[in-house]
């Protein structure tokens, strides 16, 4: 809180601030401690007082800064000062209304600012590199699935690197983490292994020293370039580190350069080391492991680059018949690569936040309009004693701007708090750890506040100044018919926007529920997973690899609390996937089939709880010496019309054509996402296949996390050098598959909720204000024979008319606007009528309550007033 206070203190003139800042923060924190002890109400009052205190005295001090000796006293600043003081006094008199107004603006501006602080750096700011539009990412994809995306083969990279007329600079890289020791305490740092071109791709020179040379890379020397962040945080910005070097993974490395602040490309790199691609590696046609960044040569477009990259792959495919057959390549803009998956969604959220702000504006305009109608008499008197129209209008404008500036400040604080929460909830965002409310966002928030203040004050100012001279003696304070119409219009507009957002949120919520109710075919609860990747230098034969995984599974099964254990080359939802081409030996006429290739240990179906539908699963008797067997899933069986009987079916890998007998059919599982229907899968026992890296899955009797110590202990006992990665519960892998949807659902729900609350508050506020002013009329109506119920119905009807009109308009807009959500919907139509009806019904009920409560209270009071003769 004291930190926020210090932020507020920026309003003071710099000289004053420098001198007293610390002392003021001190006093504040002492007051704050005391205020917090004395209850919520006192705390809120204290905070409001504090904000007012800072604003008033900051303005006063800045004003006295302006007044150089000899300059005319009075003038505009003086008048503004008077207006401001008067405004604050008038707010104090209407504390309730002022609080509602402040909260309204704070929510509207807070929502907009929070989203803007994410949208601006990701989508608006230019990347901080020369000609950022020419920086691209080049990746490979599988031709049968154009949406797929994979890292590049080194031979393909080598070919691209030759295309100097297409790529002015190009770099292949791969991220890893290394242990930095020899400092105060050892820590893991994010290191990028890269070919030397990376720095040319981004066009950034080191701040100190140099980057590595071609010769150093070719010789695979131990040289490293540090990021400014690492240099400052670990080495305190000490330049002698260039001479002394650093220790990485227990080896001595020479520091050749330090990059300028903020450079962390390609992601969150803390250091860069050479990636040596030897001639042998460059001719390796079996591995794909390079991420590729490039700078387009002058005059080369994105399409030309894509064509050139794909063409060179096709040439290699022609030269080597088993290479690149199902792959091609694509170049995509660097920014697009990082944010393409969230761009539309973020813009949608920004639009929605602006809609919330518009509701806030309408709300505020209405409150001020009601207020100025109620103050007709005050304005009339002030006009009578000599205030000009301009003076009155300026007074109202000052009030509006002051109010919305205070609300905007509160909104900015809200955004500062909300932005990290939004980022944490969002699907993977580039430079996520740097996203926060920054100076340009605050500037935008404050500009919006001023704009809000002006916009919402215009109507009341016109109304007041026009009415003032005429109404000096009028008794009515409920406003003219024109004013009532404006008020109704503003209420209607708020309702319309709120209904659209509510309908959108309801659609997303229903989609989310339907999607997560999809059967995934296995039970992810109580399962811990860990990925083990084997160094091929040590585990150089299939037999050694098989042996290792078999013994890890065996040992783990003996641990207490473990129900069953399995290992697989591709557990569902873990982003690992293997595809192979199969032929059906028993049916030579059937076409080849590309199916998922799953290597598993015998207990797989038991551990994942995938049901065996026909035949059998694997058993310990399926040894490497025994007959080759496979289990297929139902999707595979259906594809071959063998749903009833698969016992006669014999498969083979298209590669080696060795026959494999199908011995059973298991239930379908979803592998990549809830959306994608199950694909054909073939399971093979570990004992009969050549495994690569595997993921271990442990089903526990208690919590999944209980298995972690056992996993670590067992692995250490078998091979202490083996690293485990991605130690996560299977449930969290499954949860990750819906991160994006959850993000939009939560934010849209929060915004829709805010919109509904704001418009309800607006309806309630305006109705109760108008009813209070109409108390006399109500009393007269009752006095001349109307029943209390009749009068309540009248008030309700008048209050609800604009709500219902707004609702109708909102439904009309929603029918079109919800189409923007079509991508995010699942098994539900954007125009789903039941959702719209439910959303509207909820809204009508709440709005009716908001109208009826103040009406009822006023009518009761009016009826009582008659008895007292107090009309």
């Amino acid at each position: 809180m004291t930190r926020l206070y210090r932020l507020l203190l920026r309003l003071f003139p710099p000289a004053f601030r420098r001198r007293y800042r610390d002392d003021m923060a001190d006093v504040f924190s002492d007051h704050w401690r005391r205020a917090r002890r004395s209850g919520l109400r006192a705390t809120a009052a204290f905070l409001a007082d504090t904000i007012a205190d800072v604003i008033v005295h900051a303005i006063a001090l800045r004003r006295s800064d302006f007044q150089t000796p000899g300059r005319r006293e009075g003038g505009v600043m003086k008048a503004l000062w008077l207006d401001g003081r008067f405004a604050i006094r008038s707010f104090r008199q209407r504390a309730g209304l002022t609080t509602v107004a402040l909260l309204t603006i704070a929510l509207g501006i807070g929502a907009t600012t929070a989203i803007f602080s994410v949208v601006r750096p990701l989508l608006l700011d230019r990347l901080p590199f020369p000609e950022p539009d020419r920086i691209v990412s080049v990746y490979e994809f599988q031709t049968r699935d154009p949406d797929s995306m994979t890292v590049a083969n080194p031979m393909n990279f080598d070919a691209w690197e030759q295309q100097r007329d297409v790529f002015a600079a190009i770099a292949g890289f791969s991220g890893r983490s290394m242990t930095l020791s020899g400092t105060a305490e050892a820590r893991r740092i994010g290191v990028v292994m890269t070919t030397p071109g990376l720095f040319d791709v981004f066009g950034v020179r080191p701040a100190v020293g140099r980057t590595f040379s071609e010769a150093e890379v070719a010789a695979d020397e131990r040289v490293v370039v540090l990021s400014d962040g690492l240099w400052k945080s670990v080495f305190g910005g000490d330049p002698t580190v260039l001479a002394s070097g650093i220790r990485l993974n227990r080896e001595q490395w020479r520091v050749v350069g330090i990059m300028p602040p903020g450079f962390e490309m390609p992601g969150s790199a803390e250091a860069w080391v050479p990636l040596a691609l030897s001639p042998e590696v460059r001719s390796n046609r079996n591995a794909r492991f390079l991420q590729v960044a490039a700078r387009l040569a002058p005059g080369v477009s994105m399409e030309m680059a894509t064509t050139a990259a794909a063409a060179s792959m096709a040439r290699l495919a022609a030269a080597y018949p088993k290479f690149n057959q199902t792959y091609s390549a694509r170049a995509v803009g660097w920014r697009e690569m990082g944010v393409g998956h969230v761009r539309d969604g973020l813009w949608m959220l920004q639009g929605i936040a602006v809609a919330v702000w518009l509701i806030a504006c309408a709300n505020l305009a209405n409150l001020l309009l009601a207020l100025s109608a109620g103050r007709t008499r005050e304005f009339a008197i002030r006009a009578a004693v000599g205030a000009g129209r301009a003076r009155l209008a300026r007074q109202i404008l000052t009030e509006g701007v002051l109010l919305s500036l205070a609300g905007g400040l509160a909104g900015t604080l809200l955004a500062i708090w909300a932005t990290p929460a939004i980022v944490a909830l969002a699907p993977r965002l580039p430079r996520a750890e740097h996203l926060a409310v920054r100076a340009p966002d605050v500037f935008m928030a404050l500009s919006m506040s001023v704009l809000t203040g002006v916009v919402v004050s215009v109507l009341p100012a016109i109304v007041a100044t026009r009415a003032a001279p005429r109404l000096a003696t009028a008794r009515t304070e409920t406003g003219s018919r024109g004013q009532r119409r404006t008020r109704a219009l503003l209420v209607g507009a708020q309702v319309a926007i709120a209904v659209v957002l509510l309908a959108g949120a309801a659609l997303l919520a229903r989609s989310f529920l339907r999607l997560t109710a999809q059967p995934i075919g296995f039970m992810p609860g109580q399962v811990m997973t860990a990925h083990i990747s084997l160094p091929r230098t040590v585990y150089d034969t299939e037999e050694k690899r098989r042996q290792l995984f078999a013994s890890v599974v065996d040992e783990l099964e003996r641990e207490p609390g473990v129900v069953s254990v399995t290992a697989s080359n591709a557990l569902p939802f873990t982003w690992y996937e293997w595809m192979e081409e199969f032929v059906i030996v028993s049916r030579p006429d059937a076409p080849h089939l590309t199916a998922s290739y799953r290597v598993v240990t015998p207990s797989y179906f038991e551990t994942m709880q995938v049901p065996v539908l026909r035949g059998r699963g694997f058993a310990a008797t399926d040894t490497s010496a025994g007959p080759r067997v496979a289990v297929v899933n139902e999707a595979f069986a259906k594809r071959y019309g063998a749903s009833s009987d698969v016992s006669g079916l014999t498969l083979a890998l298209a590669d080696d054509r060795l026959p494999i007998a199908v011995v059973g059919v298991v239930g379908d599982t979803r592998h990549r996402s809830f959306e994608r229907p199950p694909q054909a899968e073939v399971y093979l026992p570990l004992s009969q296949s050549g495994p690569g890296d595997m993921t271990i899955a442990v089903r526990t009797a208690g919590r999944a996390a209980d298995a972690v110590p056992a996993l670590q202990r067992v692995l250490r006992s078998i091979d202490p050098e083996l690293p485990m990665a991605d130690i996560k519960t299977l449930q969290s892998w499954v949860g990750q598959a819906v991160t994006g949807r959850r993000f939009y659902l939560v934010l849209l729900s929060v915004f829709a909720g805010t919109a509904v609350v704001l418009s309800i508050v607006g309806i309630y506020g305006v109705t109760s204000y108008v009813m209070r002013l109409r108390a006399r009329e109500m009393a007269i109506r009752i006095a001349i024979g109307a029943t209390a119920q009749g009068v309540e119905r009248l008030a309700l009807r008048q209050g609800m008319t604009p709500v219902l009109l707004g609702l109708a308009a909102g439904i009309g807009v929603a029918l079109f606007a919800t189409r923007l959500l079509a991508d995010q919907l699942f098994q539900i139509q954007a125009r789903d009528p039941s959702t719209l009806i439910a959303a509207s019904a909820v809204f009508v009920l709440v709005a009716a309550a908001a109208c009826w409560m103040p009406a009822r209270r006023t009518v009761r009071a009016a009826a009582y007033g008659i008895l007292q003769g107090d009309v």
Binding site: R19, D30, A60
Partner: protein
Amino acid sequence: MPRPPANVQSPIAFQILLSLAAGESHGYAITAEIAARTDGRLRIQPGNLYRSLHQLLEAGLIAESSRRPAPDLSDARRRYYRITPAGRAQLKEEIAQLERVLRNAKLVQRRHLEDRK
């Protein structure tokens, strides 16, 4: 001696002078002392406090104290203020002024009561 500008005669400024007349002190202690003396009716917010202190400093009615209590007694970061002779004179003058106002008011009140009789 030129009259100090009007804004150092505000009630807050008066209270601050009154507080410092008893001895030198720092910002928070001043607010605490004033709050205690007025039964919590007057709690001065930091913006108001430091603006007033700033103005009193400029008017030469108070000065920053160069002395500090022993470091273990108080936080060395805090600025301490003391009243100047000009400040004392101003305070005395204001108290006299207030007394005149009060005497005058009582006189009017008494006359008013007598008229009623």
